[in-house]
């Protein structure tokens, strides 16, 4: 009897393993080994609740499709648990590569590792993960240096003195701190520039408006607001309009999003740091294609320079890039 039970358990184990193994196989490898459909690329984006990331995701998807892949966008909604589900689905769904905009520099590492262990290469875009051996490559905005430039321009526009507020992005995102530290590496050298409040608005326009409204109640006399992204800059501007201070308080953003570029044109926002989401997304899709075709020598991190956009040089720029990119 015991022997029968033993054999039964072994049979169940073998069947289970067989089922798992079948699930792991990618559709294009099933059967006679010839591809039966287009290879699939997943575009996993931290959030689609911000136009900048929509441009990033759509460009990556479009470029992957131009290169002959079937591409699907997954929205992580800034939630690492959702992101983890997307990675599980891409692994189970037979995707060939992942173009990935992480939600969390540390929290997203496990997801990329999971994909690597399933032999699916991951290409990070814009946001970084704090690891240099799980993704194939990471194409990143050089946020720190971009904010050093914004900091220098800020000091100039403020004439080295005044009171200002800083709105931070998501606290777990390296971009938040690279931007903030780049800015402060300049501004903190001027003792007459006083930061009266520093709060997170999580890269969100509505939160930025609410946070600044609250800050203005305690600190009605400010001269400038430095925002870690353009969505927050627009939210801050709205709060200043509502408080009747839009003409007196200078707003600085970061991203190069359409509404801020338009606002710089109109003289409402002072400056932003132009990131290049289309350029980064195209690069990631092209590198994934090269990887699939056999290339392996990718630099682990590729910083993409951020350019200062002001009312003086706005004519060189359009939303999400340079005029010359078109």
């Amino acid at each position: 009897m015991a022997r029968k039970l033993f054999l039964f358990i072994i049979a169940v184990l073998v069947l289970t393993l067989f089922t798992f193994e079948c699930k792991r196989k990618r559709p294009e490898q099933v059967g006679d080994g010839k591809p039966k459909s287009k290879k699939k690329i997943a575009v996993v984006i931290s959030t689609l609740n911000n136009p900048w990331f929509v441009v990033l995701g759509n460009t990556a998807k479009d470029r992957a499709e131009q290169l002959g892949y079937q591409a699907t966008i997954f929205d992580s909604q800034n939630d690492t648990a959702k992101e983890s589900d997307h990675f599980d689905n891409t692994i189970a769904g037979g995707y060939t590569a992942i173009l990935f905009n992480p939600t969390d520099a540390d929290g997203s590492i496990a997801n990329v590792r999971k994909a690597k262990e399933a032999n699916i290469p991951t290409f990070c875009i814009d946001r970084e993960i704090n690891s240099n051996d799980v993704a194939v490559t990471q194409i990143l905005s050089d946020n720190y240096t971009g904010c050093v430039e914004i900091g220098q321009y800020f000091v100039k526009k403020m004439n080295k003195k005044g009171r200002y507020v800083e709105l931070l992005g998501i606290l777990g995102d390296n971009n938040t701190w690279n931007r903030s530290k780049g800015f402060h590496s300049v501004v903190d050298n001027y003792p007459e520039l006083k930061m009266v409040a520093q709060q997170t608005a999580e890269f969100d326009r509505t939160k930025a408006m609410e946070v600044l409204e609250s800050i203005l109640q305690a600190n009605p006399e400010i001269d400038a607001v430095f925002c870690g992204n353009d969505a927050m800059a627009m939210g801050a501007y709205q709060a200043l309009v509502a408080a009747g201070k839009a003409d007196k308080v200078m707003v600085f953003g970061f991203d190069g999003a359409k509404d801020v570029i338009d606002s710089i044109h109109d003289g409402k926002i002072i400056a932003t740091g132009m990131q290049f989401p289309r350029k980064m997304a195209r690069m990631a899709a092209e590198q994934a294609d090269e990887y699939i075709k056999g290339r392996r020598d990718f630099p682990q991190k590729v910083p993409v320079a951020v350019e200062l956009v002001t009312q003086e040089n706005i004519d060189k720029y359009t939303a999400y890039g340079r005029q010359s990119e078109h």
Binding site: V134, T145, V302, P303, A305
Partner: protein, 214 residues
């Protein structure tokens, strides 16, 4: 059957005990954590300055030659001498030269490097803080891919700039330089590729690496 049940219960108990007595961590995560805990940008910058940077100074290009090349063939200047850690329109250059101080401002010296020495060609930073990555990037010695997060890469630049202030600029200012003095220098500069032939290349900002009165 009874025996099998006993074994199964024993196995479950053992599995339970083992599960709660031992935990597993990814080795890579532990290594990464250790790297994070032990990294010091200040120490890295110190080693860079003391042991690495001076070995590449012999590759510095004469600043007069470089400015001429900016104004005649920017692409050639970038190809031969420019360095950038990634995708950029701004390139860093390791330079050397000598010239005459024309004016001494709060944060910089205006220096003429060619005859007649009436117009400034370069601005040498002498402020007590230096932003940017000119020295780190111009050296070509620090690779961003070596760092698990780019903040470390940026902190290195900040620490290098502090060394420049403390060990190059302050000692130089202590010698009380005057307009009309001649100087000799090695330095780094960052220049955008955009305006080939424009006047902006007539006045290049230089972060000094060595700065001496002649």
């Amino acid at each position: 059957m009874k025996k099998a049940c006993k074994y199964a219960i024993a196995a479950v108990i053992i599995a339970f005990l083992v599960y709660y007595s031992v935990y597993f961590e990814n080795l890579e995560d532990i290594k990464e954590q250790r790297r994070k805990e032990t990294f010091s940008a200040a120490e890295y910058a110190r080693d860079f300055w003391d042991n690495q940077l001076f070995s590449v100074l012999d590759k510095a290009v004469d600043v007069q030659k470089l400015i001429e090349l900016f104004n005649t063939d920017m692409n050639e200047a970038i190809k031969k001498y420019g360095k950038a850690p990634g995708v950029s329109r701004v390139f860093a250059y390791l330079i050397k030269g000598n010239g005459t101080i024309l004016t001494i401002a709060e944060d910089f010296l205006e220096v003429s490097i060619r005859e007649p020495q009436t117009n400034p060609d370069i601005k040498i930073t002498t402020g007590l803080y230096i932003p940017g990555n000119a020295v780190r990037d111009a050296s070509g010695l620090v690779d961003v891919s070596d760092f698990s997060d780019t903040m470390k890469f940026n902190e290195i630049s900040s620490e290098i700039n502090k060394i420049v202030v403390k060990e190059v600029i302050r000692p130089f200012l202590d010698k009380k330089p005057q307009a009309g003095n001649t100087i000799r220098f090695f330095g780094a500069t960052q220049v955008s590729q955009d305006a080939t032939g424009a006047k902006e290349y007539q006045l290049v900002d230089v972060v000094p690496i060595r700065l001496e009165l002649e």
